[in-house]
C-alpha cells in the first residue's frame, strides 16, 4: 500500500500513450484487451450504429434508450450504456420520487443555519459561529438481505464517506433496523449478521454508535431495512464542495484499489449479458475494509486542513461513474480521464467494470496541479493509494458545459455531456392510487378489541408487553457497538436520543434521534410520517435540545405499484408539511424503493432523523429515574393528554396480532410547546429524568425508566374518565407525551412552567428506593421480575453470549 509512482500530472493530449505507464500490474490488462480485441469504443459505436445492445437487461426502458441515442447522436458504447443505466437508475436519479421530494424545498421554512442542503452529499447546519454539523441517514436494505454482514458494514462505510465528503470529521453513527418476525429462521440469519457488520465496521472506524431502532414485523421478511445515519462536525470554513472546477485541475482517485465487487449494486448491471463473457463471478454486494476507511478519513481531514482540496466526492453506489459525472456536472466543466491509471485489484477488469465497480473506501479529489505533490505525500503518510487519473477540461467556447471524455489504453470508450447523466435523467410522475384495502383497514379499529381489565390481567399484560420483541431490552445488540470511543458520548442507546459533546471548552453539543413506525404509516402514510417526525422531534427535545434539522430515509415498496406510490406521495407530503409546521428544514436523505417480495410490499416506512443542539450538554436529561435523594422520592408527572388510541399500537399487535384503524392523532403545535417546556425545564434543572412515550405507552416508559438505574416507582393512575381506564392509561399510544421526574422543591416551578407553555401536566406518583413498580390499586411488580422479562427475549431468540464462566 504505497502511493503510486506514476502519478505525475497528466499531459493534456487526450491520446496519451499507454506505454508511458510503468506499473507492470497493468500489463495484464493490455494483454486481455488485445485478447478480446474489441473493446467497444466511440469510434466503433459510430461504425456499427445498429448493433443490438442489452439496454432492457440493464434496466433502461426503450424510450430511455432512445433518449440516450438522441443525446449522443449515435448509439452509446458499452461503457456509456452502463453509465446511463446506473445514473438513470431509480437509486441514483430519484426518477420516481423527484416530483414529490420537491416539496421539501418548496415548503422549507426560512433557515439561516443551513449551509448545504438537499442535493449535496449531506446537509450541513451551523451550530455556532465556528462550527457546523452534517448528518444524513441512508438505506442499505437490499445488500443487507443478500449478505447481512457486508451489506450492513458497507452501509455504515457509505454514509460515513458522505459525511467526510462535506469536510467533516465523522463523529458517530446510528442505525435504524427492521427485520421480519423475530422468531422466523431467516431473521436468525439476517439480524446477527447485520449487527455484527455494523459493529465490525463502525467499531473499527472508531465511531461511537449512539442509537437507532430494532423493529420486527413480518412485513419485513425478505426485505429487512438496514438504514444508517452518520453525523460529522466541521469548522464552518472547512466546508467542501463537489464541483470539479478549474480547467487543468487534476482528478485524483484516493483510497482502496478498484475491484469487481459491487458491480451492478445500484442497477441491474450484474446481468450476465453484459459482461463480455469474461467473468461470471460478480458479487453485487460490496466488501468493506474499515481499516482503509479509517486511513481515508485521516488523510482527507489532513488534506482539508492543509487546504489541498478544490473539490471532493465520495465513491459509493455507482462508483466512478457517479463521482466523475457529478463533479463535472456540478461545475459545468468537462473532464478527461485515463481509465487505465485506476489502480485495480484484478488486472483483467474491463473499462465498463472499472466505471461500474462499487468498491468501497474510495474518494475522488479535484486538486490544483501545484498541490498534487502535497496530496500524494499526505496519502503516502497514511498508506493510502492516490492516483492522478485525469484532469478537468474547459467548457466549450460558447460556454456550454464540457464533455466527459474517458479513454482506456488509447481507446476512447466514453464521450458524453456529464450533465446528461447526472441531471437530465428521466423524471416520472408515476400513477398513484389509494390502496384498495385502506378503507376497510381503517374501519377495523383496535379500540374495539377485548382488553384486559382486572389487576391480574393488567400485570400479566405488562410482563408480556415488555418481553415482546419490539419492546424488549436490546442490549444483546447494542453491546456489540462501541459507544464510548472519541470520548464525547453523553447519552447513547437506550436513551431517547444520542447526545454528543461537540466542543469540550463550551459544552456545546448535539442530540440525535431516528424514529419510524411502519404500522402507523400503513394505516395512514400522511399522519404516520408526521408521527415519525413528531416522535423523533420529541425525543430530541426531551433530552433538552433544540431541534434544528431533519434527515429522512424513505423505505417503500415498488414505485411501479400505484398504491405504493400513493403511500410515498402521502408520506412525503406529511414530512414536508410537518417540517413546515415545526419550522425545521429537511437537509437531505435517501429514498429506497423496491422493498418488496412479489406483490407484497413492506409497510411504508419513513424513518426520520432529527438533529438538535444543546448549548451545554451538561443540561441534558437522561431517561432513567435517579436514585431518590430522600426516602420520599422524586415526583413523577405525565405530560400531554392520554386518549384511548390503540389502533396500530404495540398492544394490539402483541395481544391480537391486529393492525387496523387510524393511528394516534398528531398535534405538532403541541409537540413544539412540549419541546420548549422541556428545554427550559432542563436549563433550570427542574427535571432529573424524562422519557418519551411512544410504542408500548406509559407502561413501557415506567418499566424502562425504573430499570435503567434500578429505582422503583409508586404510581397512581389519574381518576377514571369513562374512556380512560387503567388499561388505556398504561397502553394507549397517544402522541405528544412524556414522563418526567421532578425533584421535590422544583415541582411548583415546573408545573407553573408547564401551565405557561400550555402543556397538560398530571402528577402520577413518586420514585422509591424500594425496587418495585407499584401501580396503586392495581398491581406491583418487583424490578427483578421486570428485568428478567425485559432482558431475556433477545438472548432466547439469538443465543446467549451472556456470561462466560471463568476458568
Amino acid at each position: 500500500m504505497t502511493t503510486q509512482p506514476d502519478t505525475a500530472p497528466v499531459s493534456k493530449t487526450p491520446e496519451q500513450p499507454a506505454a508511458k505507464l510503468s506499473a507492470s500490474a497493468f500489463a495484464a490488462t493490455d494483454v486481455l484487451a488485445s485478447e478480446f480485441g474489441s473493446v467497444d469504443t466511440v469510434e466503433r459505436a459510430l461504425e456499427t450504429p445498429d448493433d443490438l445492445q442489452p439496454h432492457a437487461e440493464l434496466g433502461l426502458k426503450d424510450d430511455e434508450y432512445e433518449r440516450i441515442k438522441q443525446i449522443l447522436g449515435r448509439r452509446p458504447t458499452a461503457s456509456e450504456l452502463a453509465m446511463y443505466s446506473i445514473m438513470w437508475s431509480e437509486h441514483c436519479s430519484y426518477k420516481s420520487s423527484k416530483v414529490h421530494l420537491r416539496q421539501f424545498g418548496e415548503k422549507a421554512p426560512k433557515n439561516t443555519r443551513m449551509l448545504a442542503g438537499i442535493g449535496e452529499n449531506a446537509g450541513v447546519v451551523q451550530i455556532s459561529d465556528e462550527l457546523a454539523v452534517t448528518f444524513k441517514v441512508e438505506s442499505h436494505n437490499h445488500p443487507s438481505y443478500v449478505e447481512p454482514y457486508q451489506g450492513a458494514a458497507t452501509g455504515v462505510g457509505g454514509i460515513v464517506r458522505d459525511i467526510l465528503a462535506m469536510g467533516a470529521r465523522p463523529i458517530a453513527v446510528m442505525d435504524p433496523l427492521r427485520f421480519g418476525a423475530a422468531d422466523h429462521p431467516d431473521t436468525a440469519r439476517v439480524l446477527p449478521g447485520v449487527v455484527a457488520g455494523i459493529g465490525g465496521y463502525g467499531n473499527c472506524l472508531g465511531l461511537p454508535n449512539i442509537g437507532g431502532e430494532i423493529v420486527f414485523d413480518p412485513c419485513y421478511q425478505g426485505n429487512p431495512l438496514v438504514n444508517a445515519l452518520s453525523i460529522g462536525v466541521l469548522p464552518v470554513e472547512r466546508l467542501q464542495h463537489k464541483e470539479a472546477a478549474g480547467e487543468g485541475n487534476i482528478v485524483v482517485l484516493l483510497g482502496a484499489r478498484t475491484g469487481r465487487d459491487g458491480i451492478g449494486g445500484v442497477s441491474v448491471l450484474a446481468s450476465a449479458t453484459f459482461d463480455e463473457g469474461a467473468e461470471q463471478r460478480r458479487p453485487s454486494v460490496q466488501v468493506g475494509d474499515p481499516f482503509m476507511e479509517k486511513l481515508l478519513i485521516e488523510s482527507c481531514l489532513e488534506m482539508y486542513d492543509a487546504g489541498l482540496v478544490a473539490g471532493i466526492q465520495d465513491l459509493g453506489g455507482a462508483g466512478l461513474t457517479c463521482a466523475l459525472t457529478e463533479t463535472a456536472a456540478a461545475a459545468g466543466t468537462g473532464m478527461r480521464v485515463w481509465l487505465e491509471r485506476v489502480p485495480l485489484r484484478e488486472a483483467s477488469m474491463s473499462p465498463t467494470e472499472i466505471l461500474a465497480s462499487e468498491s468501497q473506501e474510495r474518494m475522488l479529489l479535484i486538486v490544483t496541479p501545484e498541490k498534487l505533490d502535497q496530496v500524494l505525500a499526505v496519502a503516502e503518510k497514511w498508506g493510502v493509494w492516490a492516483t492522478a487519473i485525469g484532469e478537468v477540461t474547459a467548457s466549450d467556447a460558447a460556454g456550454h458545459p464540457g464533455r466527459l471524455l474517458i479513454s482506456w489504453n488509447d481507446h476512447v470508450v466514453v464521450d458524453v455531456p456529464p450533465g446528461s447523466l447526472a441531471d437530465d435523467g428521466p423524471v416520472y410522475a408515476r400513477p398513484i392510487r389509494e390502496p384498495a384495502d385502506l378503507i376497510l383497514l381503517q374501519a377495523d379499529r383496535a379500540e374495539t378489541l377485548p382488553r384486559p381489565t382486572t389487576p391480574e390481567e393488567l400485570r400479566e399484560t405488562v410482563l408480556r408487553m415488555i418481553a415482546s420483541p419490539n419492546l424488549c431490552d436490546k442490549s444483546w445488540v447494542t453491546e456489540q457497538y462501541d459507544r464510548y470511543v472519541l470520548g464525547n458520548t453523553v447519552l447513547a442507546q437506550p436513551e431517547d436520543s444520542g447526545v454528543l459533546r461537540i466542543d469540550e471548552k463550551t459544552g456545546l453539543g448535539v442530540a440525535l434521534s431516528v424514529d419510524g413506525n411502519g404500522r402507523y404509516a400503513r394505516l395512514d402514510p400522511y399522519e404516520g410520517a408526521k408521527l415519525a417526525l413528531a416522535e423523533s422531534y420529541r425525543n430530541v427535545a426531551i433530552s433538552g435540545a433544540e431541534p434544528i434539522a431533519v434527515s429522512d430515509c424513505l423505505n417503500f415498496g415498488s414505485p411501479e405499484d400505484p398504491a405504493v406510490m400513493w403511500q410515498f406521495a402521502e408520506a412525503v407530503r406529511g414530512i414536508a408539511d410537518g417540517c413546515q409546521q415545526l419550522n425545521i428544514p429537511v437537509t437531505g436523505g435517501n429514498v429506497s424503493f423496491y422493498n418488496q417480495t412479489g406483490a407484497a410490499a413492506i409497510h411504508p416506512t419513513p424513518v426520520i432523523g432529527v438533529l438538535g443542539v444543546l448549548e451545554n450538554v451538561a443540561t441534558r436529561v437522561p431517561m432513567g429515574f435517579p436514585p431518590p435523594p430522600t426516602a420520599e422520592g422524586d415526583l413523577l408527572f405525565l405530560l400531554g393528554n392520554t386518549d384511548c388510541e390503540l389502533s396500530g399500537s404495540e398492544w394490539a399487535w402483541v395481544t391480537h396480532n391486529h393492525l387496523g384503524g387510524k393511528p394516534p392523532k398528531v398535534d405538532l403545535a403541541h409537540e413544539e410547546r412540549l419541546g420548549r417546556l422541556m428545554r427550559q425545564a432542563a436549563e433550570r434543572e427542574h427535571v432529573v429524568a424524562a422519557h418519551d412515550l411512544s410504542d408500548g405507552g406509559l407502561s413501557q416508559v415506567l418499566v424502562e425508566s425504573c430499570l435503567r438505574r434500578n429505582v422503583g416507582a409508586r404510581v397512581t393512575l389519574p381518576e377514571h374518565e369513562a374512556a380512560t381506564t387503567p388499561f388505556v392509561w398504561l397502553f394507549s399510544e397517544s402522541a405528544g407525551r412524556a414522563v418526567v421526574a421532578v425533584p421535590r422543591g422544583h415541582d411548583k416551578a415546573f408545573t407553573a412552567l408547564a401551565a405557561e407553555h400550555g402543556v397538560p401536566c398530571t402528577p402520577i406518583g413518586v420514585t422509591t428506593e424500594e425496587p418495585v413498580l407499584e401501580i396503586h390499586n392495581q398491581f406491583s411488580l418487583g424490578l427483578d421480575e421486570l428485568r428478567e422479562a425485559f432482558s431475556s427475549t433477545m438472548r432466547n431468540l439469538f443465543g446467549s453470549p451472556a456470561e462466560v464462566a471463568a476458568k
Binding site: 479509517k294 453491546e479 464510548y484 470511543v485 470520548g487 459533546r501 450538554v617 462466560v804 471463568a806
Partner: protein, 234 residues
C-alpha cells in the same frame, strides 16, 4: 510530566488517552508509529483501536513499528508503559507481558460498563488505588480473552502481578478473570478495559479510570524526587 500517546494507523482511542492524561494533570505528547523518537517522554500509553487493521493478529504488526523498538528498550529500562486494549495486545506481542489476548469466548464484540477488582497497587499505573478496591470502567473489545499457560498464570498470581480482575461477570472468558497484568518490575501494565473512558462524569460511567493516570504522575514524581514508588522500588 510528559506522557506520550502513540498513534498507529488504526488507533482509535488515542485522543481519549491524551485527554485522560491532561485531565489527570499531565502533559500529553502525541507519538507517531513511524517515528522511532519518543521525544523524551516520561511514560507512554499505547491506546486502544485496531492498529494496522488487526492484520495477522491484533498487535502483531504494531509490535514492529519503529516507535515500538524504542519503547520496548525503554520499558526494559523502567519507562512506565500502559497498554490499553489494543495496547495490551501489542505489549503481549512485544513480549513485554506474558500471555495473549484471543477472541472473546462468545465470539461477539462486547461493550459494557464493567466492574473490576484491583489486585496489585505497587505498579507505576495503579499506586493510587487500594488493594481489593472495586472500580467501574467500560470494556469494549472483540479479542479480549486473556490466555496463558497454567505455569504463567500461577506465576502471575504468585508474584502479585494480576493488576485487576473482572468481577460481577466476566465479559470475554479471560482465564482466572484477568483484566490487567503487569511485568515483574511493575512499570509495564496491560489492561483490557478502558480507564481513559472513565475520567469525566459527563461521558463515563465513573471517574475510576483517572487513578491509572494519576498513579503514573505520582510514580514519576516519586522517581524525580528520589522516592521510588510503585514498580520502580521492586
Amino acid at each position: 510530566m510528559r506522557i506520550g500517546v502513540v498513534t498507529f494507523p488504526g488507533s482509535l482511542d488515542d485522543g481519549d488517552a491524551a485527554r485522560a492524561v491532561r485531565i489527570a494533570g499531565g502533559e500529553a505528547v502525541r507519538l507517531w508509529h513511524g517515528d522511532a523518537d519518543i521525544h523524551g517522554v516520561d511514560a507512554v500509553v499505547l491506546p486502544g483501536g485496531f492498529s494496522y487493521g488487526d492484520a495477522l493478529r491484533c498487535g502483531a504488526i504494531a509490535r514492529f513499528a519503529p516507535v515500538m523498538e524504542t519503547i520496548i528498550d525503554a520499558a526494559r529500562g523502567g519507562l512506565p508503559v500502559l497498554g490499553i486494549c489494543n495496547g495490551f495486545q501489542i505489549l503481549c506481542e512485544a513480549h513485554l507481558l506474558p500471555g495473549a489476548l484471543t477472541r472473546n469466548q462468545h465470539l461477539h464484540f462486547r461493550n459494557r460498563d464493567q466492574h473490576l477488582r484491583i489486585g496489585a497497587t505497587n505498579t507505576a499505573w495503579t499506586n493510587t488505588f487500594t488493594e481489593g478496591e472495586e472500580i467501574l470502567i467500560p470494556v469494549k473489545n472483540g479479542e479480549g480473552c486473556f490466555v496463558a499457560d497454567t505455569h504463567t498464570l500461577d506465576e502471575l498470581e504468585a508474584e502479585g502481578r494480576v493488576v485487576a480482575r473482572y468481577t460481577r461477570g466476566n465479559p470475554n472468558g479471560s482465564q482466572r478473570d484477568i483484566a490487567a497484568i503487569t511485568n515483574a518490575a511493575g512499570n509495564v501494565v496491560g489492561i483490557m478495559p478502558h480507564p481513559e473512558h472513565a475520567v469525566e462524569a459527563l461521558t463515563g460511567p465513573s471517574l475510576d479510570g483517572l487513578g491509572f493516570f494519576t498513579s503514573a504522575l505520582r510514580h514519576l514524581a516519586g522517581v524525580a524526587g528520589g522516592q521510588l514508588t510503585g514498580g520502580a522500588t521492586r
